[in-house]
Assembly symmetry: C2
Homo-oligomer: 170 residues x 2
């Protein structure tokens, strides 16, 4: 497994995929693809006066209904002051609801309101549409490879979070 799937017929032949040239292509592909990845939601957000940070908060609140602020902080990897600024406007605008925890009353559990869910839907529809087109064009095997490489590219801590998030809903 350390030499990757495909097994025997490599060593020196297929190792060409690790040349600096190939790596640079990968790097530039990430750069350009990430631009495309965020382009559609960004256009929608702009019309509402929100930014990418709002999108991320909305995404992960939708993703994990009732998550706590601390948990969201860990997922997003920003400071509480930064998150709070975003969260405050979302709550003020009635897109997110913050409920005091029942077990631990210090915690705030975050939920999307109906309005929030509508925006979330709109944003993720746009983003999924692009992802779907890319997946369809590329085909299932390419998609599997795509996910494998991305997963390997994450920082250890982030990979654990990603896997924890992901493993639940198959």
């Amino acid at each position: 497994m350390a030499d990757g799937p495909g097994g025997g017929a490599q060593r020196g032949e297929t190792l060409l995929f690790l040349t600096d040239e190939q790596l640079r292509k990968g790097i530039e592909a990430m750069f350009f693809a990430y631009k495309g990845f965020t382009a559609d939601p960004d256009r929608i957000l702009e019309t509402r006066g929100y930014g990418r940070a709002h999108h991320r908060a909305i995404h992960f609140i939708h993703r994990s209904h009732g998550t706590t602020v601390n948990n969201l902080l860990a997922i997003l990897g920003v400071t509480k002051q930064s998150l709070n600024r975003v969260l405050r406007t979302l709550i003020k605008d009635g897109l997110v609801e913050s409920r005091v925890g029942t077990r631990d009353k210090r915690e705030r559990h975050l939920y999307l309101t109906e309005t929030g869910q509508i925006l979330e839907q709109e944003l993720s529809d746009a983003q999924r549409a692009r992802m779907r087109d890319a997946f369809r064009v590329a085909g299932p095997e390419a998609v599997a490879g795509f996910r494998t490489v991305l997963e390997a590219m994450m920082d250890g801590e982030m990979r654990r979070r990603y896997l924890r998030l992901t493993e639940g809903g198959q």
Copy 2:
């Protein structure tokens, strides 16, 4: 080809890779992987008082020696004011050299100085190391899929730029 490689045994079976759940995983993988992708260079840049914008400029100047400002603007997709702020500090610090064009004297051609090349090397070593580890773990087939999906995810204009950049140096 419109249904992706793999040909016949799909339609309704392997189409499972286009479910909303799978698409969401792809979206989150992009988010977490991009964090990892930028983490190592960011750490280096921080010690020099530079940011990600400087890295991008340095990368593409290295990439296309003698590129013009306009060309760089198109690749990076930012305004000239934004790029100029970055470029000015890089020139002032002696990492980038700006030479008046010979054919067209309005143009400025950009080059990395020796100092600039040293930093470029350091940054790309770090980024390539992570990419290389990810590629090695994932294997050549996964890497091919990775690039296929990313390419399909780009905006049309950006994809053209990426391919134009990429096609030259195999």
